[in-house]
Symmetry: C2
Subunit: 339 residues, 2 copies
Amino acid sequence: MPQKLTLKKIAQDLKVSISTVSKALRDSHEISVETRDKIKDYAKKYNYKPNNIALSLKNQKTKKIGVIIPEIVHHFFATVISGIEKVANDKGYQVIICLSGESFDKEVVNMDMLANGSIDGFIMSLSKETLERQDYHHLREVLNQGMPIVMFDRAVEGIPCDKIIIDDVAAAQSATEFLLRKGKSKLAIISTVDYVNVGRLRTQGFKEALLKRGIEVSDKDVLKIEDTENSTTIIENFLKDTDYDGIIAVNELFAVTASKALQKLGKSIPDDASIIAFTDGMLSKYASPTLTTIGQKGEDMGGLAAAKLIERLEAPQTIEESYETVIVKTSLVERESTP
Amino acid sequence: MPQKLTLKKIAQDLKVSISTVSKALRDSHEISVETRDKIKDYAKKYNYKPNNIALSLKNQKTKKIGVIIPEIVHHFFATVISGIEKVANDKGYQVIICLSGESFDKEVVNMDMLANGSIDGFIMSLSKETLERQDYHHLREVLNQGMPIVMFDRAVEGIPCDKIIIDDVAAAQSATEFLLRKGKSKLAIISTVDYVNVGRLRTQGFKEALLKRGIEVSDKDVLKIEDTENSTTIIENFLKDTDYDGIIAVNELFAVTASKALQKLGKSIPDDASIIAFTDGMLSKYASPTLTTIGQKGEDMGGLAAAKLIERLEAPQTIEESYETVIVKTSLVERESTP
C-alpha cells in the first residue's frame, strides 16, 4: 500500500522544517527560490496535493467543524468544547477535534490535514509555540482559500477572522480592585511568560489597577512561569519569605498550588492571604478552601464561536469583508478564598 | 451548494432513528424488509454513499487514527488522549478526536463519518447509552469492512477486537482489603448504575473482598448514581446518619464529594472515615485532604491502545484472527485520605 505523502514526510525526506515545506508549497517569499523549487519538484514528483479547499467548498459542504486546541487537560478547553458541541450539533454540524499539544508543527500539520476537504471551517486557540514564533502563515493560507476561522481565547491581532475573547485586562483589573476593596494591599500575580497573550494581558490589568490606586508595582511581584511541569516548586519558592496578602493566578492550577503553599507556610486563607483564580473549573470548586474565581464562561465562548462560524458558513457570499471580535463578559464567583 | 446526505438527515426525513437507518443500509435483519427498502430507496435516490472503507483501505493509508470517547471533562480520558498522541505521533500518525457525549446516536454518527475514508482505525471507549442498549452494530460493521478497533476502559465482551482494560474487580478488591487492613470495618462504595461495566465490576470486587472476610454486604452499602448532575446532593443524603468508616468511590469526583460531605458532618479524615478513589487525577492531588487513589494509568492505557492499533494496521494480513486483551496493572497511590 502506498503511503500518502504528507507535509511531515516531505520535511523529513528533504531535511527541512514542516513550516518551510508548508510555506514553499504556497510560494511564500520567506523561502528562497532554490528551496521552494526543490520542495515543489519533490511534491510534484510524488504527487503531493496541497489543500484544494476552494474547489471542495464550491462543490459540497461537509457540515463538519474542525477544532484545534492546545490541550484538553485544562478544564477551560473542555468546557469550550462542550459549548461548541452543543451549538454545532443543534445546527446539524459534527465536530472534529485535534490537539496541537502547544506545538507549532503539530498545529500546522493538523490544520493542513483537516483543511484538506474534511471540514468547512475552523475554531481554534493558538499553541504557545505559535504565539512565541508569531508565525501565522497556516492561518492566512486557509483564510485565503476561503475557509473561515474563528479564534477564541488565545487569539491574535491582524488575522482577518472573527474572535471570541474575554477582556483579560479588565478582568484582571476588577479582580485586583476586589482584593484592594477587601483591605488587601500587598499583592502578587502568578502568570505565564509574556508571549502567551492572556498571561501578558492579565498581568497588565493587575499592574494598571494597582497604579491607578497609587500603589507601586515591582517586577518581583510578578511571577512568570514557563516551566509548568515544575510549577509547584517554582510557586513555593516564590512565596517563601514574602508577606503577600493577596494573590491573583492566571489559571486555577497555579491558584490551588499557591493556596497549598501558603497553608504549608502556616498562613490562613482568606485572612492572612486571599486568592483569586482565572478559570472557574473543578479544581476551584473542590479545593479547600474553595477558590474565588473569574469565570471565563468557556461554554458560552464555545457556543458563540460555533454560532459565529456557522453563520459565516451559511451566509451568502459578499464582496465586503468585516470581522467581529466578541468580548465575553467575565464574572467574579466568590468563594472561601476571599473574605 | 448541495448538502451532503447524512445518516442523521435520512433519519430526520424519514422519521426513524439513526440506528434504524444505519442498520437498514447494512441489510440488518433487525429491521423489517419494508423499512429497509424504504430507507435504501431514499438513500439511493439522493445518492447517499455508505462507508467505502474496504475500498479506501486497499488504495491508500491515511496515517490517521480516530478516537471516540464519551467526554473530555474527566481527567482520565484526557490522560488517555495524551498517551495516544505520544505513541501515534512518534510513529507518524495523526489523531482525530470525536466525542459521543455519552450518546449512542452521536457515537454511531461520528463513527460513520470517520470510517468514511478519514482514518485507518479506531480507538474507543463506549458511551453509557451504547452500554445500556447493548447495541454494537456500528462496531461490527466497521470491523467487518476490515478496519481495526481497539477498545479501552469501557470495553465489552464479544466484539472481535483488541482491548486495553484494567482488572476492575481485582483493583476494587485490593482497595477494599487495604481499608480492612487499616482497621476499617464499616465500608460503603459509591458507584455508577450497573450497565456501566466499570462501575458494576468495581462493585463486584468490593463485595467479593468483604465476603471473603466473612463480612456481610447489604445493598444499602452500595450507592449507584445515575444522575451525575446531582451527585453532590445524592452523596450527602447517602452519608447522612451513617457510620461508615471507609468509602470507595469509582471516580475521583464522587470521592472528593464524599470527602467534603463527611467533613461537613463533622467527621475527620482519615481517622473517622477513610476514602479511596479510582482515577489518579488533578482533583485527588489537590483536594484537602489529598486522596488515596487507584491509579488507572490513563497515559499507559492510551499508549498501549495506539501501539496495538498501529501494530495491527501495519501487520501483513493473516487468515487467522486472534485478539488480545491487555490488562494494565493498577497501583494504590497512598495519600492523606487513608491512615
